[in-house]
Symmetry: C2
DNA sequence: GCTGAGGCTAAGATATTCTTGTGCTCATGG
DNA sequence: CCATGAGCACAAGAATATCTTAGCCTCAGC
């Protein structure tokens, strides 16, 4: 008749630790101290009477038991989490005003939005794309997605995703010819530039890339410039040259074959995409539901 | 990056309540008071901002939200519970000495035992089938399965399953003829009797059945008698007559078509099958693992 | 119209869980 | 080769969360 379950919070602590590979990281996800996670995991190990981690001086390694255990736990918690999110979202109702870069909206948000509509059919999204930093005091904004080193002063922020960059071009640019496979060889093709880029964020500009590789930057300024990433990408798709593709902005074009990666080079940006707003906004149900959904989307491979 | 989960203990309280249809029943399963369950469910409803139950004067009814929610939660908790049980069982090691009625072992336990071997490959079962009540003080017994109204004096017990009874016979007994469909019509066939039955437990004897139906019991004592349910069933399978089939004892024969139910009559026994032993035994890992497994098996449809 | 089952609430008791602060180990880098 | 810092363990007290108890309410069934 009965069902016997292990201590659930200990289980959650283990699942997070195993998934993230560290008590410190798990503690951040669970918003408790690392010591708390350590204690919870110990409790579970006692309950099971078997070690789940090998404690190394620097970090953790799963034991065989732990390795077998993790995937099923994750699946179980996913079920709990997803079904809960659905229940929560179904009756929420209202408008969510969101700003983000057009290119991010286009590359990341729009292709996923049908799933949000499914989950929260009664929340309407009002999307404001703008290159300016919006002011929460002035504008009637619920939430912003920002690319920045930190969430922003005075604002609460949750990390949405990181960004990997790599050279991309239309396959038509090369006709049948061999595609260049080194950074140096790219200089033979027209390079497309983002106007803003390259000062603070060297990974956004060709100059940064050539300097990092120790190559001459003499001719690196040549080529057309674009003030907006979305237009820049459009130019690359049209075969006008090679652009520095920002992962989240170009993923759908890569998936459709409109763009391909050129060379194996890549650069992982130290900045992050943040979901950000004054802390109070995050307590609005409509915002919370969107944020939870977005974070979940970002966790998918 | 992050995953957001609802309060897990509240979730478990809801799952149990919804599955069992009552806070009182859920409280028994979770081994807390009904008030605690009520509070936990309320907490979850607040978290979700939606009602999950309609509170009726006498009992509960799921709302639409709750109805959608339950199956996924159950699936999630099943994953957690089953994978945990596997991890727990894998290293346990030893012998479990168990007594039970031969017919119950044959009809219920043996067909399921391959799954137990899978889960706990290093636990060997020593099965002692006996019609006598075993004495935990005298015999080296870990656990007994007993059919009784209560677990037994001085012993801890967990309810394994109930028992439904119904007339059964080999389909060959009727040749091509019409199968009797009323209790009264059974009297035309040989009735098979369990020697012990019919005094304390009227549902085990034909006399009890005929009395309950208000029929004459004049000829009800006729027919062969058997001192052991397993032999009685064998006789029924061999086409010797109609027996009172005890659900857990005859399930595999029904599944294989060796027996069929005769008439739609059935009687739900007020006694239960108990897993029972001195409380201390239940704390032995080997016992706990078997008990958890058996309870889980009993929950399956 | 009783009675009992089942649920609710409030308040205080009890447990669990978390944080803080300290100490340890070892990989990394100067 | 030593200093540094990341990451984990441990202990004790603090902060919560959770449970129980006890009394009340409603309605179904007798």
């Amino acid at each position: 008749m009965a069902r016997r379950l292990p201590p659930l919070n200990a289980l959650r602590a283990f699942e997070a630790s195993a998934r993230l590979g560290s008590f410190v990281a798990a503690a951040a996800e669970l918003r408790v101290s690392a010591a708390a996670v350590s204690q919870q995991v110990r409790r579970l190990e006692q309950y099971l009477d078997t070690p789940l981690f090998q404690r190394l001086a620097r970090g953790l390694a799963l034991t065989e038991q732990g390795r077998d255990y993790l995937p099923e736990l994750s699946a179980g918690f996913n079920l709990l989490g997803e079904s809960t999110a659905r229940v929560r979202a179904k009756r929420a109702d209202g408008v969510l005003t969101l700003t983000t870069l057009a290119a991010f909206a286009n590359g990341w948000l729009l292709p996923r939005l049908h799933r949000f509509r499914e989950r929260a059919p009664r929340i309407d999204l009002a999307l404001r794309t703008s290159r300016e930093i919006m002011d929460f005091r002035r504008d009637a904004l619920d939430l912003a997605i920002r690319f920045a080193p930190t969430p922003g002063r005075g604002l609460h922020g949750e990390e949405l995703c990181s960004e990997e960059l790599f050279p991309v071009a239309s396959p038509q640019l090369f006709g049948g010819r061999h595609m260049p496979d080194t950074l140096a060889a790219l200089a033979d093709y027209p390079l497309l530039h983002d106007t803003d880029a390259g000062n603070e964020q060297p990974w956004l500009g060709w100059r940064g890339w050539f300097e990092r590789a120790g190559l001459s930057t003499a001719n690196v300024g040549r080529g057309p410039q674009f003030s907006d990433s979305i237009v820049l990408i459009g130019a690359a798709v049209a075969g006008l040259g090679i652009a520095i593709g920002r992962g989240p902005h170009v993923a759908p074009m890569l998936a459709r074959g409109q763009l391909v990666r050129v060379t194996q080079e890549s650069w992982k940006s130290p900045w992050r995409y943040w979901l950000t707003a004054p802390a109070a906004h995050f307590r609005r149900p409509v915002v919370r539901i969107f944020v939870d959904w977005a974070l979940e989307e970002a966790r998918q491979p």
